[in-house]
Point group: C2
Chain length 503, copies 2
């Protein structure tokens, strides 16, 4: 898009805004009014999560966790297809391990939860206090990431070239003490998977780091319906201790970037610190080349901000805990017949492998409908006495809304339901791709980029010549507008850089 | 069994011992020589887990973790069928929460990992130290269990009688600082699920605590092939803060008990401490009755000690990561044809839903065979050039050994493989049940019980009149021989107690 097109798009956006404000929305504030406020309220309205009494930590509520379980299952299957084996390593990491990889220490390993005692006792004031006699000789940190402790195991497990490649993964909780937190996006504790692979050659390790990024990209595209820009991080944005960090940068609806996952080529850095060595076919000892790759509950924050609207979250059918919300429309005198018909429909849809939530609660139909909307259920189906007579059901797509309301013969609906869900999935991807394309601006100079970010109405990614990142003017722009280089897209082979604001 | 029978069984055991020592075994020491030593070496030989550099913590290696994943999937499905929803709560628990339930504190919450700082900095000697400026005002403990922090959330989530029952579960890691650790059985960090349910009435809560124990019993019986004695713990053995603790006591091959899981009726204790209240249909506020129920990686330790033999672990087919080990028997000149036939067989078995491990490594067939034995693969299949000619395969059952070696037409084997696996599953359960029955001794007096435990050759459970537990003589017996009341079996309705040594 050119700057002219960009301005036009901004005008369009402003008029959309005027339109939106006329309609009543389920979420207040709307996206345009206050995007971060909208985000918090969407999470609350969907019943995904809430803040906890532990500083910076969240509680993932059942509906949010069911979404995470679906994500986990999809990614776990893909990871296993790549020949990766799951394992489990200790939560606590000795301080001496953290110190061993110099860049790793300087980079980010400092803000951690530190375990210093192993017992509590009654204190002078009656409450519990850490027992002074139970101070640990060497404190531990709660893992912020596990390159070090997994490196220690790999050093024992990798003995010969026959042991390579070695591909390990763990699903676990990690902690990084965060001062400013936001649910899913940045919390002190979060859930993730961290993969740790080892190879005989530098080329294999690098190819694998890229391949695992591609696995994530398939997950985002095929399951999250979220396109992203795949590329390499600049030196300043690399994982501490990595030679190359690869990333997917997703665009949120406010035009900011979300670093959606990362995959690192660690070269020999960790192998040397942890003595991961193997005997080659040549009989000599060699260090192994390692990679690491991670994907977290942060992805749920991205999903919300990529697809949600002013009525709440919109879930892609492949990940949605409930793909169809089945809502009976009843009066007192015909309740039994409608409930029975709904029950039969639920059974028929479940037999097709569709996740149906039959809302048989005593609430009003409109309350049930709004709950399904706020929970982002992709497809709503209503069935009332008149439908029963005509043998039909009415379905409404979440991502389109009332304009998609369709009455259909019940058997036809059962046959077509999966196809409708597939179409919703495709539609969400198409929209997200269009949004990414429409708000990625090719600009020729740093002055133009400056103008773009200075305009508070403009938002999106800016693609510039990557050589411009070295200019002092870029540093100034970056500082003035909180803009960072998001990545050097693979598609441009290093010639271009995408810059933007980010989460 | 009577005392006479018990003595006979011990004689039998001694002669078995003489027999065993003649044969070469894959595991040294054997069970009879040194059961704890055997246990450690079985874990090593199976490649399940190893000790870590973190005190009291283990690394669960891929093969051990694959077993845990199968266990998790089975139990998770059963839990969800009971209407339980998974969620996730913070790892860290404020000290003030732990203090709130008085018995809970006194009981066991003291030996924990305590987080006192949130940042590291370079110390005087160059290494990293907890930053004094980053000391926490209120320290946290790494969760030893989550009644308190989940109670805090439940208090918000339970508002009306319509919110009950509320059934929550989380799969997570927990830590209890242990001084003497043993892999899987007792480690400072372990993996588990902890369920937390809330009900409107005391009866519902009590019935649910028993029901969830029954879910565990189905898992143990149907999947682990491990029978157990279900019953209630005596007051001294109860979970701190519980009204009733229900348990399954499994028998290990050395005659000791393993507390295989527990389910607690917490009455109003936690509801009162955390103000879990609901508005009843009567419009008044009432406290909810809560339960908690947990099952951990300890179960893997039980599985090993229940079924293993002197060649290593024996896995029940329903849980085994590899149900069949497919071992090609090749010479150089006919390798390709055999490998291809094995590949085809693997595909045919996988199409039947069987987990096949085709061992196509370059090692000797005998090494592959011993590896499969030590890893407890239920069924081994060998295929060589002669089998290829005759269209047959040779299969051997792990739990029987060489006596079960059978040659069979290859198509017939594909058709019958699942039935053979089912038969192995049933056989393991039958054997374990026979072992439990044969080593559970009904004794009438404490003097007889004393004689039993004083005899170093005797092992097993002793069933006595439960009234005897109140005698001073029982306290003395318990102390002298490290015997504890394991449970008051449901089957005896409180009249009997099972006592024994335990893990």
């Amino acid at each position: 898009m050119t700057t002219g097109q960009a301005q036009k798009q901004q005008t369009q956006k402003t008029s959309d805004k005027a339109m939106t404000q006329k309609a009543k929305t389920a979420i207040t504030p709307t996206r345009d009014e206050d995007f971060p406020g909208w985000y918090q309220n969407v999470i609350k309205a969907a019943d995904f999560a809430e803040n906890s009494p532990v500083r910076g930590c969240m509680v993932i509520k059942p509906y949010g966790f069911a979404l995470w379980e679906n994500i986990q299952r999809a990614l776990d299957d893909m990871i296993k297809e790549e020949g990766v084996q799951n394992a489990y390593f200790p939560l606590l990491i000795p301080l001496s391990f953290i110190s061993r990889e110099a860049e790793h220490v300087d980079g980010f390993a400092k803000e951690c939860a530190v375990v210093t005692h192993h017992r509590l006792e009654k204190g002078a004031e009656g409450g519990l206090v850490p027992a002074p006699a139970a101070a640990l000789e060497e404190p531990y940190v709660v893992r912020p990431t596990s390159e070090t402790i997994i490196g220690h195991s790999m050093a024992k497990w990798v003995q010969s070239y026959r042991d390579l490649p070695m591909k390990l993964n763990q699903w676990c909780n990690v902690m990084r003490w965060e001062m400013r937190t936001r649910m899913f996006l940045r919390t002190s504790e979060f859930l993730w998977q961290e993969g740790h692979n080892a190879f005989a050659t530098a080329d294999q390790a690098n190819a694998d780091a890229r391949k695992m990024l591609n696995v994530y990209n398939r997950l985002y595209t095929d399951w999250f319906a979220m396109p992203g820009i795949c590329g390499e991080k600049t030196a300043d944005e690399r994982f501490p201790g990595a030679l190359h960090t690869y990333t997917i940068e997703s665009m949120m609806q406010d035009g900011k970037a979300l670093q959606a996952c990362t995959s690192h080529d660690l070269g020999l850095n960790f192998a040397k610190s942890f003595e991961i060595q193997y005997q080659g076919e040549d009989g000599a000892m060699h260090h192994a080349y390692t990679t690491s790759w991670g994907f977290s509950t942060r992805s749920i924050g991205g999903l919300i901000m990529a697809h949600g609207d002013d009525d709440g979250v919109i879930l892609p059918p492949r990940l949605a805990p409930h793909q169809i919300a089945l809502l009976p429309v009843v009066r007192d005198d015909d309740k039994a017949a409608v409930m029975e018909a709904c029950q039969n429909l639920a059974v028929a849809l479940k037999a097709k492998g569709i996740r149906v939530h039959f809302d048989d609660s005593d609430e009003r139909t409109s309350d049930k409908m709004w709950r399904a909307i706020k929970k982002g259920v992709p497809l709503r189906v209503e069935m009332g006495p008149r439908d029963l007579e005509s043998g039909t059901v009415v379905h409404t797509r979440r991502e389109i809304g009332r304009d998609s309301k369709t009455s259909m013969n019940i058997n036809e609906f059962v046959d077509k339901a999966q196809a409708i869900l597939d179409d919703i999935q495709a539609d969400l991807l198409r929209r997200a791709q269009a949004s990414l394309d429409a708000r990625t601006f090719d600009l020729a100079t740093l002055a133009e980029a400056r103008d773009f970010f200075a305009d508070e109405n403009s938002n999106g990614f800016v693609r510039i010549d990557s050589a411009l990142l070295d200019h002092d003017d870029f540093q100034k722009l970056a500082k003035d507008f909180s803009v960072t280089p998001r990545c050097l897209p693979f598609a441009d082979e290093g010639r271009k850089a995408v810059i933007g604001k980010s989460y």
